[in-house]
């Protein structure tokens, strides 16, 4: 199947769960094409010309919002950013009212981030346009998983058979959930590792190996994917202190040495340097962190284009 003929069989992108392997591979193939475009001086396409895309962010996120905005603009869409700080949500308007109001403005695509799991599904049921989940609570963040898969694939050739260790706050992480499903669909063996207070119950039912000893989790890994730990969770509520967390679960040179020699390091950002990852590792030769950001734009272009292909033309 070529990227040009790829038909994405879903009206929305609400999560990785429910996507088939061909769905994921189709999106990745489409993203590959965008990378070439993004590296040219002329970065504009017209596949979304005339389309209106709204970025609706109920949770602040500079990088994801910027990435979607750039993706939309490069495809020729008119992009509007709505962040909650400036919206009527602060005045008591409900999520559904906001959705209905925006829907009446006839957008073609809405990108949503919300702090509650399931909020994007709720919104998708109320609008006529295509909805993209840019992160809902601890549920899913599908474009992050796709960009991570793309980054890994470009560096390792294939994801099939790789061992990926996802480390940190698994309980509160939508990135972890989407990545587990996505990487397993593409044939990777996934391990998760974190302090026991940040491992959600039932996580082993995903078919992952579960570790609380990071050294064991990293042993022989091809990819080490670190997750952000929010500062308010380090003050004794989930882990005793930042110092203790870094000592046992922070990625430093010494722990990274236990992984395969050619292991690569990833982080969805924004990083807490010195908390979950040491600066020299984040900036080191094995780090893919900056490439992830580049792939983010490409993947989001691919998703927008795939969904736009399904939109009615009249």
């Amino acid at each position: 199947m070529t990227a040009a003929s790829f038909i994405f069989p879903h009206a929305h992108l609400l999560g990785i769960e429910g996507l088939s392997r061909p769905d994921i591979e189709g999106l990745l193939a489409l993203a590959e094409e965008q990378i070439t475009l993004n590296r040219q001086i002329e970065k504009k396409k017209s596949s979304l010309r005339g389309r209106t895309m709204i970025n609706l962010f109920f949770e602040n996120s500079t990088r994801t919002q910027a990435s979607f905005e750039l993706a939309g603009k490069r495809l020729g869409a008119d992009v509007m950013n709505m962040s909650v700080a400036n919206s009527s949500v602060k005045k008591g308007e409900t999520l559904i009212d906001t959705a209905m109001t925006l829907n009446a403005m006839r957008p073609d695509l809405i990108v949503v981030r919300h702090h509650a799991a399931g909020a994007v599904h709720l919104l998708a049921r109320k609008v006529d346009c295509a909805v993209i989940n840019a992160g809902d609570g601890a549920h899913e963040h599908p474009t992050q998983a796709l960009l991570d898969a793309l980054t890994i694939r470009r560096n390792k050739g294939s994801i099939e058979g790789l061992t990926v260790a996802i480390c940190g706050d698994i309980t509160h992480s939508r990135v972890a959930r989407s990545n587990i499903i996505c990487l397993q669909a593409l044939g990777a063996r996934v391990r998760v590792c974190g302090p026991v207070t940040l491992l959600p119950k039932g996580i082993e039912r995903y078919g992952v190996e579960v570790f609380t000893d990071m050294r064991k989790a990293l042993h022989g890994a091809d990819i080490v994917m670190m997750l952000r730990l929010q500062r308010e969770r380090m003050n004794g509520a989930f882990v005793p202190s930042m110092q203790e967390y870094f000592h046992f679960f922070g990625l430093d040179r010494e722990k990274l040495a236990l992984a395969k020699p050619d292991a690569l390091v990833m982080h969805p950002g924004p990083m807490n340097r010195g908390v979950e990852i040491a600066s020299d590792v984040a900036d080191g030769a094995q780090s893919l962190i900056r490439e992830q950001v580049e792939m983010g734009v490409a993947v989001r272009m691919a998703v927008l284009e795939a969904l736009a292909r399904r939109l009615p033309n009249s």
């Binding site: 509650a116 809902d136 601890a138 549920h139 959600p200 039932g202």
Partner: protein, 428 residues
């Protein structure tokens, strides 16, 4: 008043467990006779209703229903709640004190009883607050509340976190002769949780509640009952660990009983599906194994009571992301029909089901309701156990439409409901 004869009735007596064809004679609002055989033609001149084998059973007693009156009449009023109750065969409602103001003073009990008498169709008994303002700190006036007409003390859907408060409340309530009903969920272990902890909640990205949140609170309470005495009822139990605790308490001869909601008997966590907020409950829905164990515990009598846990929530409280939506589901009108699913599945007998919804709760409160007895008020319902119907939220009588059974197929329709011999609901 003329006589009414419910002839050719299949009479279910939950006390004896008997199920026989006969007739019920109602005179002056009382049950004048329960005939063990149908009356022959011509025995009465008028007032004979041929039920053609439909079921007659004592009106149901719902030990746990929330009503929005006073203070939140947009959710539910005595009138709308009693219409829903009557349509569901419920003739006695024990309303929870979580109103605005809370039912924590004799004057509010008095108001509720007068309002319910003037506007309601069924019997409405207030359960008074256990603590002032439902705040879990200071005891209310148990003695005066009882004298005003409250039938139990409870903080409704709020747990009492402080064990010392609970200990003294149990002791004082025992002295006054008031049953204590408690919502057994440890608020710290529940935290932000809104689904049963485990794979399902993890996949949905929802914060989980462990079973232990319930079991620890139940276990604490039972130790306090040993210490302080008191007639104690756990409002809702929902998992196997709690059943074990309950079994031991009963074996020890403690005056402990427990209820379960119809939702936990007929639904499981997977019904939440794609974040259906109408299925957000407290305690949350459990896995199927727990549900089956609960059904078995009702059948065996370990669980004494089935409640509707009727909790009307307006649309604005439910049209929200799952974690932010209010918990609760309406149930007065559908409790019996949903329960009949268990009978149909062969998991429980009809007399036992009805006992858990009538005699069981009445006994806890010391009410004479919940049984068919000569000389007692004719509170009863007539049920066609085979009539199929489909639940339509829009036509349910509650002011709020948050039913977890919307569009569900049911078998068994209440045809007639009487309170003190007066018809409060009829369906043709």
């Amino acid at each position: 008043m003329t006589d009414t004869v419910l002839n050719h009735a299949r009479i279910i007596d939950p006390v004896s467990g008997k199920d026989h064809l006969g007739a019920v004679l109602i005179r002056d609002g009382l049950i004048a006779e329960i005939a063990s055989k149908p009356y022959p033609k011509g025995e009465f001149d008028s007032g004979v209703v041929d039920l053609k084998g439909a079921i007659v059973a004592p009106g149901l007693v719902d030990l746990r229903a929330f009503i929005g009156e006073p203070g939140e009449e947009h959710r539910e009023t005595f009138r709308s709640a009693s219409e829903a109750a009557a349509a569901g065969g419920v003739t006695t409602i024990v309303m929870q004190p979580n109103t605005s103001p809370a039912i924590d003073e004799p004057a509010v009990v008095d108001f509720v009883l007068r309002r319910a008498r003037d506007t309601g169709l069924v019997r409405i008994h207030p359960a008074a607050a256990l603590t002032k303002g439902l705040a879990g700190k200071e005891m209310t006036e148990f003695g005066l509340l009882k004298a005003a007409g409250a039938v139990a003390v409870t903080d409704g859907d709020r747990p009492v976190r402080n064990a010392q408060v609970m200990r003294r409340a149990l002791a004082y309530a025992a002295m006054v002769g008031m049953p204590v009903i408690h919502h057994v969920e440890d608020p710290d272990l529940v935290g932000e949780g809104c689904a049963t902890e485990g794979e399902f909640a993890t996949r949905l990205g929802l914060p989980g509640v462990p079973h232990a949140a319930e079991t620890i609170m139940l276990e604490r309470d039972i130790r306090l009952v040993k210490l302080a005495g008191g007639r104690y009822h756990a409002g809702l139990v929902s998992c196997r660990e709690s059943l074990e605790v309950l079994r031991r308490a009963k074996e020890d001869g403690l005056p402990v009983t427990a209820g379960v909601s119809i939702n936990h008997l007929t639904l499981n966590e997977s019904d939440i599906g794609g974040y259906r907020t109408f299925l957000k409950l407290a305690p949350p829905l459990r896995r199927e194994e727990e549900r089956l164990a609960l059904v078995e515990a009702v059948a065996s009598g370990l669980i004494d009571v089935i409640v509707s846990d009727h909790n009307p929530q307006d649309v604005e409280q439910k049209r929200l992301p799952f974690a932010e939506a209010a918990p609760g589901a309406i149930g007065l009108e559908t409790m019996l029909a949903a329960g009949l699913r268990l009978v149909e599945a062969g998991q429980i007998t009809l007399p036992r089901l009805i006992a858990a919804m009538s005699t069981g709760p009445a006994d806890i409160l010391g009410l004479t309701a919940g049984r068919l007895l000569k000389g007692q008020p004719a509170d009863l319902f007539v049920l066609d156990p085979d009539e199929p119907w489909v639940v339509d939220a829009a036509t349910l009588r509650s002011r709020s439409k948050n039913t977890p059974f919307d569009e569900a197929r049911m078998s068994g329709k209440v045809k007639l409901t009487m309170v003190a011999g007066k018809i409060v609901h009829s369906h043709h």
